[in-house]
Structure formats: structure tokens, C-alpha cells
Amino acid sequence: MRPTRGRRFDVMLAIVLGACAVVARSQEGHPLVGTWHGTWGPDAAQRHDVTIVLEFDGKAITGMLNPGPDSIRFDQVTLDADKWSVHFEATPKGTNAKPIVIDATIHDVTNRRRSLVGTWTQGSVKGDFKVTRDD
């Protein structure tokens, strides 16, 4: 059976995510480092899959949203370790794309399967957001 374009994309995405998983091997170090999966959306019926990959070089947290052909590198990621709150800013490709702002808190920070829970804002659209760190 000839693979459809969607299936090809799935395969490509799986390869990219697999490569990211090799890079994201941290578990007990900096609590943001690693690969996170989850969803965001304005309500329970409208959910969008989200993958976040984050790294830390000792000074700055960097990373990307949804690795693959349409990945978006974060412009800014800041962590307030006193509250375990995290602020993300990203600018999607395209002239009409609205900037993305995510404000979240790390839940159960000592757990290797910790979560980021908060809000996702893109233009006038606002929704809840939750991703869990891969083990």
C-alpha cells in the first residue's frame, strides 16, 4: 500500500521524536530538561497535541515546540525556581502567525514523570495546557 502524505508525516515525526529522545536523556538533573508530551486547547473538545523539548547549558534554558517540519524554537524560557513557575514565548513561522505564550507550573517536581500545567495563549485564543515529562 502506498503511504499517504499523512502517514509519511507520521513516520518522519516518529524519526524526529526518536532522535530527540536520544538527546533528551536527563531525568534527575535540571527539572525542565527532557521531552514533554501533552495537549493544549480552549476546552475539552478542542485539544491540540504538544511536544516540547528543553535543554539547559548551565545558564539558559532553550528548546523547541513540536519538533519536526513545523517546529518552533522558543524565543524565551524562564524558570522561577522558588515557585517552579515557567514562562515560555515562541513565534510561529508565517507572517500572520500569532506569538505563543505559555505560563505553567511544574507539578511534582521531584518525580521523573513530573508535569507542566498552566495556560497557553495565542492571540485572542486562550486555553489550558498540560504536558508530562517522558520517563
Binding site: S26, Q27, G29, H30, F56, A81, N111
Partner: protein, 292 residues
């Protein structure tokens, strides 16, 4: 009827004996069996082992060429017990150790350390029987032993506690792996090269993964961790362990701590012998389900 009752009694007794014989060995992730001499950090040598039980220590044992022997001399047995901490100055910890307030944490690593303490260290990977790298390997009950292998230009350290691991220290002059090498596979014990500086074995290690806590209590580390360990044996019964922690992603500057470790003359049950007994953390591990 009598025969039937007797048969039932025999079966019951047999079952009881069988159950008793199959009872799990007294082992949990980090605690020694009840009769075992205590090797908790911060304790001085107890009865049956170490200097306290035998009076003044014998001199440092040496090989024929004069170099320090970190193991048991020919014809003798024994191993090293558990050590103290590289933070704080209690028990067998070194007097120059920093207190926690003196550890140069980055803000995130201090916050994570505090969170781990506040939660009772419930997510300690060692409670899931994962290997303890770094100084933690010498804090684990059931002791350790240096096996010198000059023909292979390496020293192997075997550990009686945790998941019964071992570690190689190469003395052949090979370089440490580069942390930016894409082929590097980070490991629990890292990659170690050593050299003798007089009577001190100096070991450099890097290439650690982030799947473990490198010290009891949960001081964080990252994949940038570089350890410089110094092993010396000031007398027969004492191993002095010092380590410099250099992890610029977790700490603002390198820092040093250490502890002493007592020589153990006895077996786990206190009988003479000084042999590491068989122990596997995974066997009868019952802690983790209660930590969630």
C-alpha cells in the same frame, strides 16, 4: 479418620516448614539486615570491626614495590564499610566539609534539593534499586572492595550494596571522554581514569547520566558532572575519601568534601571473616510502592 487427621497435620507442618524456609531474606533497598554491624553514615567503627574493636590500627599495607594497597594483604580478608557524607561534619565526615549552607548551589539545584528533602526523598532512584554513582556508591551499606588488576592496568571496585555493581578505574593513561562527543553514552558510574600521586590514588571521572542521585539526600547533578576523587589509606583500618565536585550546570563553582571509611573484619552477621555477602537490592525490595 486418625490416619487422615495425621496426614493433614503432616501436610500442615510440612507447609509451615516450607513457608519458613522460603521466607524472604531480610533485605530492603538501603537498610542492612538487623544483625549486621551498623554501617550507616556518620558512625564510627563498631564492635567486631575497625580500630575500635582491635586497638590501634596496623600500619598502612603496601605492595612489594612500596605502593599503598587499598585492599586486603595476601592471606588476609576484609573490605571497606559504608562512608559518611561529603556535606556536613558529623561522624566520619571530614572536618573541612562544607555545611549545606556552604554548597554553591545554582538557584534551581538548591530549590530541587529542598523539594527532595521536603518530600522525604520519595523519588530517590536508589529506592528503585538503580545504581548509585559518585560519592553515593561509597555511602551504600554492605561495603565495597578494591581489586587491583595491574595486568589490565585498571582497578575494579565491587560494591556489595544496591544492585551489586562494579566500576572500573583505568590506569593506562587513556583520556577521559569529551562531553560533546555525540557518541558518548552517559553512564551511572561515569568513565574513570586514575593515577597515583604518592600514596594517594587520584581519579578523574566524567560522562555521568542523570538517572541517579550522586549523594544521599538528593544533591542534584547534571550530565556536566566531573569528579576528582582522592583515595588514601592513612592506616590499615581507614580509607580517606575526598572528592571535588565540578558541575557548572548545577553549582556556581567546584567544591570539595569527603569522609573516612572503616575497614571491616567481619561478615555481615558479625562472625569473623570480612567477606562481602551476597545481597541484591532487587531481591525483596518493598520500599518503592510505599514511597508513592
Amino acid at each position: 479418620m486418625i490416619a487422615t487427621r495425621a496426614a493433614r497435620l503432616i501436610v500442615l507442618a510440612g507447609a509451615a516448614v516450607l513457608c519458613w524456609s522460603l521466607r524472604p531474606a531480610p533485605s530492603v533497598a538501603q537498610q542492612p539486615p538487623p544483625r549486621r554491624p551498623s554501617q550507616d553514615p556518620g558512625q564510627t567503627p563498631g564492635p567486631g570491626r575497625g580500630r575500635a574493636a582491635r586497638g590501634p590500627s596496623k600500619p598502612t599495607p603496601r605492595h612489594a614495590g612500596g605502593r599503598v594497597n587499598l585492599g586486603a594483604p595476601a592471606g588476609e580478608s576484609g573490605f571497606w564499610g559504608g562512608g559518611g557524607s561529603i556535606v556536613g561534619r558529623r561522624g566520619s565526615s571530614l572536618p573541612a566539609n562544607p555545611e549545606v549552607s556552604g554548597v554553591p548551589f545554582q538557584p534551581w539545584s538548591k530549590a530541587l534539593y529542598d523539594a527532595r528533602l521536603k518530600q522525604g526523598e520519595k523519588d530517590d532512584p536508589h529506592a528503585r534499586c538503580l545504581p548509585p554513582g559518585g560519592p553515593r556508591q561509597f555511602q551504600t551499606p554492605n561495603g565495597f572492595e578494591f581489586i587491583e588488576q595491574p595486568e589490565r592496568k585498571r582497578i575494579t571496585i565491587i560494591f556489595g550494596g544496591g544492585p551489586r555493581s562494579w566500576r572500573f578505574i583505568y590506569l593506562d593513561g587513556r583520556p577521559l571522554p569529551r562531553l560533546d562527543d555525540p557518541d558518548l553514552i552517559p553512564t551511572y558510574f561515569g568513565y574513570s581514569t586514575g593515577r597515583w600521586d604518592g600514596d594517594t590514588l587520584v581519579v578523574e571521572s566524567t560522562g555521568y547520566n542523570e538517572k541517579f542521585w550522586f549523594l544521599r539526600g538528593g544533591l542534584p547533578h547534571t550530565d556536566a558532572l566531573h569528579l576528582t576523587e582522592r583515595f588514601s589509606r592513612p592506616d590499615f583500618d581507614t580509607l580517606k575519601y575526598e572528592v571535588t565536585v565540578d558541575d557548572p550546570k548545577a553549582y556556581t563553582r567546584p567544591w570539595t568534601g569527603g569522609f573516612t571509611v572503616p575497614w571491616t573484619y567481619t561478615n555481615w552477621d558479625g562472625s569473623p571473616g570480612g567477606e562481602i555477602h551476597e545481597y541484591f537490592c532487587q531481591d525483596n525490595e518493598r520500599d518503592y510502592s510505599r514511597l508513592r
